[in-house]
Symmetry: C2
């Protein structure tokens, strides 16, 4: 938790932001409750709502809060523990003492939250809420407001004010992100060192997750670890590690404060790249380096994405996998066949930061429109970069047989894509290389204490140890 001044300042800025949009009424915050895994009393590890964490700091289930836009009053609603709870959970500090730590002096029982909201509605006041990120919050808001879940209408001015604040990371947040980077790198090093032909992928996943559970909250998202990197979100880990394959590991750690890291590396399972693997790897590596080199305040991340796609097509053209004019191929979206995802996304308290608030509101400036093209259309962060933005730099090249067949059958990319040569890449798999990047006043720096080996020679050297 940060100092109470941090939270007080953030809430004041938030209220000012919403008021500046001409709004009145109440800002509603519904913190997370425990999430049942098997049944109501057997829950997943508790994770607080990220916007709650950002503005109210308290990392405990079953809390709600209000900000009164007119009076400026801030209230936290939560229940104190009773003697029965003390037997099971040990003595606990009071809600009032916890609230004081984040600068809030008014507290009341959890049930009083609903009463306050109903009283405000009865008095004709407006209530503002964010899009609920979990089903509990959806159910709670739906029943509180008497609106079917599909008709809930989150407040755009509230959302925009939250995004405006959370998008630019404060120094205290950057410190946490560096720590999350350190833990993510430790997790990845354990993963890399565990790649030995004969081991089951799931074994490596277990070893990696152990690092995050022993020293942090856990994984910042379900680990992707696969010898079929061409399946972008592959969460099966049932294969035996075989030599000669490419192992994509896309994984990150979340530290106790809630901040995330997100790295991807691709390893030759036998410790050495084949010449064919190295050719493609080098292109992806060059793209990762290139994107970072042009990342700086003033450029949009859409421009960085497109320039990086141009670089990738240049590399693929040198291998005769595509043919033609680079600019023409970029505008035709030819790179989407090889990289059907965006170059990166915002990162912070969420690994895809604030995704529950709306991808376009988070990742696009008001003057930007999201493309529909494969690849560029999946770009989650397109904004003009400003110091304090934290983004990922994650180019990849994949050979996805189902997608290649579809394009070929539909005639997409005809004249640009060398489908004949692509035939020999159907069993290649995929490569992705990802770092976490902070936009600084003058350029950018990678988060974390050092950098996971990434140059092909360095990767082979690390695997030889």
């Amino acid at each position: 938790m940060f100092s109470k001044e941090i939270y007080t300042t953030r809430r004041r800025a938030l209220a000012e932001g919403v008021r500046a949009a001409g709004e009145t009424g109440l800002l509603l915050f519904v913190g997370n409750v425990e999430a049942p895994a098997q049944y109501k009393d057997n829950c997943y590890k508790f994770r607080q709502d990220s916007s709650w964490l950002y503005f109210w700091g308290l990392n405990e289930p079953r809390m709600a809060a209000l900000v009164d836009l007119e009076s400026g009053e801030e209230r936290i609603f939560a229940d104190d523990v009773e003697i029965d709870d003390i037997i099971w959970m040990g003595p606990q500090p009071s809600v009032a003492s916890k609230a004081a730590k984040v600068g809030v002096s008014f507290t009341a029982p959890y049930a009083a939250f609903a009463e306050s909201v109903r009283a405000a509605l009865a008095a004709g006041r407006k209530v503002h809420y964010l899009p609920p990120s979990r089903y509990y919050n959806t159910l709670f808001l739906s029943e509180l407001l008497g609106i079917p879940s599909a008709s809930l209408t989150p407040s755009i001015p509230f959302i925009k004010a939250v995004i405006g604040l959370r998008l630019i990371k404060e120094p205290c947040e950057i410190e946490e992100l560096d720590k999350a980077g350190a833990l993510g790198q430790e997790m990845h090093s354990v993963g890399r060192d565990s790649i030995v032909p004969g081991i089951i992928e799931q074994d490596i996943v277990g070893k990696m997750e152990a690092v995050t559970l022993a020293k942090g909250w856990g994984v910042s998202f379900p680990t992707i670890l696969t010898q079929h990197g061409e399946t972008l979100h592959n969460h099966l880990h049932d294969k035996v590690v075989a030599p000669g394959k490419l192992m994509v590991i896309d994984a990150g750690a979340e530290i106790e404060s809630g901040y995330a890291s997100d790295y991807t590396r691709t390893y030759p399972t036998g410790g050495k790249f084949t010449p064919k693997q190295r050719e493609i790897y080098q292109i992806v590596y060059d793209c990762n380096e290139f994107a970072f080199s042009i990342t700086r305040p003033g450029i949009t991340y859409r421009e960085v994405h497109l320039a990086t796609m141009r670089k990738m097509l240049e590399g693929l053209r040198a291998l005769d996998l595509v043919r033609g004019d680079l600019d023409e191929m970029v505008s035709e979206g030819i790179a989407g066949l090889f990289m059907p995802h965006g170059l990166g996304h915002n990162m912070g308290l969420d690994v895809h930061d604030m995704e529950d608030l709306g991808e376009n509101l988070v990742g696009y400036d008001p003057d930007q429109t999201r493309a529909r093209q494969l690849g560029l259309g999946s770009l989650r962060m397109a904004r003009r970069l400003r110091p304090g933005h934290v983004i990922t730099d994650e180019p990849g090249i994949y050979f996805i047989p189902a997608l290649i067949d579809k394009w070929k059958a539909e005639g997409t990319g005809k004249g640009f894509v060398n489908y004949d040569k692509l035939q020999s890449y159907y069993d290649f798999g995929g490569i992705r290389l990802e770092d976490d990047v902070l936009v600084t006043e003058t350029g950018a720096r990678r988060l974390g204490p050092s950098r996971l080996p990434i140059a092909p020679d360095d990767v082979e050297a690390a695997m030889a140890r």
Copy 2:
């Protein structure tokens, strides 16, 4: 997954059970969807609903099913994947082919489930559903049926028929429970071997969870690992392991098929019990052995609990911590001061098996009433034992300062409890010892391939290795 005959037979028996209670209409099953951790697309590891797993076997999100009690027809509702999904998730088998594996020939898209239910309701047919164990299912049913969540009325005949089947484990289930026991024991051995003064508790938790993640689904419930065993459900792991303490580890593994294990051991952090610790440990150990020795078909687990409490009081009386007639102390509930929980619970696909269906319906025979006394009132399994029941045997003794002070102030246990001598136990902590037990035709056997060291000498020997 088991053979399709297993699932077909279970569903037929279920329908017969509900019909035998005089019911008609449709049985509704709503499988789990992914559970968001941070935001909708960043989810916890998927866990299917246990009753769904039991009757429909398919371990995938976003499925629903119906059984028509009149026609006997069985239908599975789920969506096939589209080309976009194949890019991200790889090629997937069709819903029809998956349904065939569990003996179901009728399949339809997910949205058709709601249509079928609405059509049945419009035709005046009755629909039966189980208590939803997650907020998604609550929201889904509430909106489908047009009933506020607090007014949902799960079907008692449906619940009872499910419990009747799931409570008696089939041979194929017992095989899985033995496997879960093996993994749980491996997890515990790693935990025990990691107890070294100076290490942070969380480090041990990480190492233990790694075992379950590398070889199974994960933990069957959040690991309890604490040097403050007197806090029964302590999920803080922030303490440094100090010599001279007692470390309670209550943890279990869930294997890929969904079956659970649940073991507790208590270790002297320095490797050797102090004489005072050993005295209390011996009583708990004797109680664990005693409870197992009288567990057999015909006796109720309430009787086993009470006989074990008598044994515990006998041991405590020998230490002059309680005084008086054993039977009188049992009926006065004096043991509840030292063991405020029950002797055990049912276990199966859930570590507290079927807890979402209602603790009393699951754990109590129709002629049994749940006590209100501390301890006995927390007994989750009281039923007359039958072959195929799987239960835990988990006596414990805790010295809970807040509870002792409360009893003393209220005069509870006056004349029985030696509050003066108890003073010197305020910093003792707690001890719990738990095994998983199958009721057999002739008695009982412990699940798992072997037994975690439990006799005090064996524990010290294991820690010395």
